[in-house]
Amino acid sequence: MKRTLPRLSALIPYAWLLVFFALPFLLVLRLSLSDSALAIPPYTPRIDWGGGIDGVRAFIDALDFDTYKALVGDSLYFNAYISSLRFALEGTVLALLVGYPMAYGMARCKPGTRSLLLMAVILPFWTSFLIRVYAWVGILKPQGLLNAGLGLLGLPDADLLYTPAAVQIGLVYSYLPFMVLPLYAALEKQDHTLLEAAADLGSPPWKSFWQVTFPLSIPGVIAGCLLCFIPMVGEFVIPDLLGGPGSLMIGRSIWMEFFANRDWPFASAVAIVLLITLVVPIVLYQRQQVKALEAGR
């Protein structure tokens, strides 16, 4: 009793994750090696359990890399893949440029103000992602608020909706809290006596920043960048609502293949390629997460 119960309590979430998280990936991998077919579900081959070991062998023989060959040969997917990486990279850098001064300013406020500002960064995260992206449609559309504002200032209209610029704005806007929070956490716990010491030794503030504050905040920078970059690459809602046909992103391609073309094997192959791309950043992120969470153990 003393040992089995804790074991059992670990076993339940473990089993759940194996069935609902790990197993499905194997299914995606398997399906990406299948062919699409006009059937329900729309792919072939399917395992013939009645045929025993021969049925399974026939199933394995029928798997091939055709979808991947088609994928490599299709410049549309290659472009979507490259542009997803570019969007995510630019979005991450922009979020860092906007988020760092914010987090830095927050860390320098009084403790009471700090917790209020922290709350203000977290609050948008609790409100619907879809709604926040949708709010930008009303701002960026041709008769929207941005152009009304520009018109008041006597400036020419900017037609941003359904352009790559709109997607970029949406990405930075949506993921900014993910950048600010780890940066703030890293900056807030810094010892201010280090800066005083640097000043005593004759260092001007900007030099102290680059030689003391910034290097110490690097773990926060890395965490923030990973938290932004990884989901941005696979983003679907933002390019779909704010981007035009020119703003291809890989998450949107998977969605289109699946819902519009009903080509499940192809969608799976695209998903596997996306996953392989993200394995390195995801593992980096996890190691960092484990280090942070288990530090107090």
Partner: protein, 265 residues
């Protein structure tokens, strides 16, 4: 870092927070616009809220979403808390790396991939897509968030309290219920709230795993948004934002009150 923000810091914070809040604020204002046009202010009106409650499709979707959210958040809280306890308490065990990997991966996994993979699982298992499948999918997505929130609380929890209870003759299970759980309860509740809002919010995974009759509110909003901005959707969004804001404010007041009444050790 105690010198107070410089003018540059103040400007960047103002710009940053304006960037975060302006779109939401504008959305709320437009929902009270009598005119159907976004740029024309036709006077204050609550008529879009009236039409909203007569929209049966929207109401049905809202009901599905709430049911899925309540059940999946509760399941995710139980599973996520168990996972967090296992990860903090059970040192090294076989398959630990895989377990911790699976526990955190859903936090960053692109939703499109999770949606697709879960759908394939349900097809392979022969489960008809509907409210059940959306609930199972949301549980899997949100338990990772619960795990992280609870684990960060467990990491700071003084384990000797639990050991003391066991020395006094409590079984590990009883020590958990009577000592550990009351201590980590705020984190467990925060995890539940986070799981619930994430479930209310999810479009992508729900789209993959739902079937006829289990259209969720975000799916309904999405299909209307694709047709353009509509004041009725602005009104739904405002109600959702209002509900979440009130929830978060109540939560923080509750936490403050708890801190104040807690007896200092």
């Amino acid at each position: 870092m105690r010198r107070g923000p410089s003018p540059f810091n103040l400007v960047s914070m103002t710009v940053g927070f304006a960037f975060l809040y302006l779109p939401i604020l504008l959305l709320v204002i437009w929902s009270f616009n009598a005119s159907k046009l976004v740029t024309v202010w036709g006077g204050f009106s609550t008529k879009w809220y009236g039409t909203l409650f007569q929209n049966d499709q929207l109401m049905a979707a809202a009901w599905v979403t709430i049911r899925v959210g309540l059940i999946s958040a509760t399941l995710a809280t139980v599973l996520g808390t168990l996972a967090a306890v296992a990860l903090t308490r059970h040192g090294a065990f076989r398959g630990r790396t895989l377990f911790s990997g699976m526990s955190y991966a859903p936090l960053v996994m692109p939703e499109v991939i999770m949606g697709l993979s879960l759908l394939l699982l349900f097809v392979a298992l022969g489960i008809d897509r509907g409210i059940l499948t959306v609930t199972l999918a949301h549980t899997t997505l949100t338990m990772a968030y619960v795990t992280v929130v609870v684990q960060s609380r467990l990491a700071t929890f003084d384990r000797s309290l639990e050991e003391a209870a066991q020395d006094l003759g409590a079984t590990p299970t009883r020590a958990f219920w009577q000592v550990t759980l009351p201590n980590i309860l705020p984190a467990v509740l925060a995890g539940w709230m986070l799981a619930f809002t994430l479930s209310l919010d999810d479009l992508v995974i729900a789209s993959f795993t739902s079937g006829p009759g289990s259209t969720t509110l975000p799916m309904r909003i999405y299909s209307q948004v694709r047709l353009g901005v509509s004041p009725e959707i602005n009104a739904v969004c405002t109600l959702l934002i209002g509900a979440v804001t009130i929830g978060v404010i109540c939560w923080s007041i509750g936490m403050k009150w708890r801190e104040r009444t807690a007896t200092p050790a």
